[in-house]
Symmetry: C2
Subunit: 335 residues, 2 copies
């Protein structure tokens, strides 16, 4: 697997490597005869020359590589986001290295280091709990980084996130208006701010409400969800739930919960109402059209790459949060 280099072209064309480099990079200012130019271009094409970006990067300090660290690329939310980021990155000439942290701070740091060793020009990350130190190190090194989906407080890294608390509050208010006897928030035991914001939105809406529904919370670990949800719902709903609304704070949670409802022949929205955070293709196979909160993934991807590219061009410490609006998509899962 030997590949051709600029040197090969220079030899064939009978010019120096410098001249070849100028022509291939279309540098103006150098006055190179059109004839030479044409000859070099033709030779490059003939031998199917592929520039070595690692060598180029060594000189220019630009790898044209972006690192993306998500919790799990096989998670529909992240794979959808990754695809959009890929498209945006490609437009600007970047390729994407992708890694999954599994919500593990050590693994997260390992990936960040690995990617930085690969000389990525910048990093798009979904930070995990316990990654503060790792992120602060990046800030110290003035490494171009943006956070997506999530954010870590008090770290000077721009974040592209959604209005978690606000939309969660608004959605909860919708539920409150319907006068359910019981409102159940299904969420995570976690310290991740964006998830806590969803819970806080729920809490605020509830405590501001005039009518007082009974509220319950079912909080599970970030991993290994399904059984916990099923068991938790069994306890909460019993055999004859009535006038109850379930608010699932992620699509993973919703899928686990809806599966339980299906298996136990609990009808939506007749027996219980359902509201879910995030979209998933799976909803389309559920008998009832699910009402859910949709994140603007296109915008998130676009903005993330845009901000990162700017940071790569000109670094500056910046903890700006870009807050995008999510939207309530009405289905038929709320009575």
């Amino acid at each position: 697997m030997k590949s051709t280099s600029i040197k090969d072209i220079a030899k064939i064309a009978g010019v120096s490597v410098a001249t070849v480099s100028y022509v291939l990079n279309k540098k103006e200012g150098q006055k190179i005869s059109e004839a030479t130019k044409a000859r070099i271009l033709q030779i490059a094409k003939d031998i199917n020359y592929q520039p070595n970006k690692a060598a180029k990067g060594l000189k220019t300090s630009k790898s044209k590589l972006l690192g993306l660290v998500v919790a799990d690329i096989s998670n529909e939310f992240y794979s959808t986001l990754a695809r959009k980021i890929e498209n945006e990155a490609l437009k600007l000439g970047y390729s994407l290295i992708i890694g999954s942290s599994d919500e593990n701070a050590e693994k997260f740091q390992m990936l960040v280091e690995l990617f930085s060793q690969q000389q990525v020009d910048g990093l798009i990350i979904a930070p995990v709990a316990g990654s503060e130190k790792c992120l602060n190190d990046l800030v110290t090194k003035e490494y171009p980084v943006v956070m997506v989906d999530r954010f870590i407080e008090e770290v000077k890294i721009p974040a592209i996130v959604i209005n978690n608390k606000e939309i969660s509050k608004k959605a909860t208010q919708k539920l409150i208006e319907k006068n359910f006897d019981t409102l159940v928030y299904i969420g995570y035991k976690t310290s991740l701010a964006h998830l806590l914001d969803r819970e806080r939105g729920f809490d605020e809406a509830v405590s501001n409400a005039e009518n007082h529904s009974r509220t319950e919370k079912l909080l599970v670990g970030l991993k290994g969800i399904s059984e916990e949800i099923q068991d938790g719902l069994q306890v909460l709903l019993g055999s004859k739930p009535k006038n109850t609304a379930l608010y699932f704070s992620s699509n993973k949670l919703a899928v686990s919960g809806l599966k339980y409802l299906l298996q136990n022949d609990i009808k939506v929205p007749q027996d219980v109402s359902v509201l879910a955070f995030d979209e998933t293709e799976a909803y389309s196979l559920f008998p009832t059209k699910i009402t859910f909160l949709q994140q603007p993934l296109d915008e998130m991807a676009e903005k993330a790459v845009e901000v990162l590219d700017a940071l790569i061009g000109q670094y500056q410490a910046d903890g700006t949060m870009t807050i995008l609006s999510s939207e309530l998509i009405e289905g038929e899962s709320i009575k």
Copy 2:
């Protein structure tokens, strides 16, 4: 964003860069005093030295980067596979660059070239229709490549695929045994061999059958499926389907089809029976447990990385197909 180099360590330690390189790479044979070793290691740690893999690669011709080109990373099948490949790659110290071809031969080639410019040590690809020439060029260059999921015939590149035709035939025979009046194969208009194999398996089973069910085929384009499927099913099933079995040859097709059944209140398996190729989380929200053909994605990922790594170590032209067995997972969607 300036980073530290081997030179910095050498300066601090008062030794040459060669010595630092030897120590950091744990090269034996060089007799370096334990004291010097310890000092260098300590300094590397103190200044948080991160080796520049691009520079290293320039010397060693090993980037420790693998390229993965799939049709679409946001497709559940590929994101699941990608995650498993990521894990396997990481075990061997490789990072993964990922790209989506969108079934487009030009884009596919563009990604292959881009990744080869990034000096990936090898490529794992799901080839698209029309990529023969591109692949043959890779063979000529002795570029380490393996195909997964799909294969292009007569190209000397190892492929890790499943027994599409055989399992499809076996599954179809199961349907035939049930004496359906009508068997409908839902597949793709395509030249991709692995999909044609699924269709051929169906065809063979049908033509070998003693009892003659009526058979129909609904073939759609590789992209923009949903409406085509819905329209096609409407024509085929009419308002009162009876004793009919639908065989969806991919999870995407199955999801579109099941959605149609749901919307039109066609019960599975009472009104129609359903068999699907591939798994998806979405099945779990469908009221009936779907019977489907499960691909061994763990094995596929493992084998792909293993074969590719061997090829990187020692290239040899090799068109071996590794054929993995898929399995029929029984649900309750067949009467």
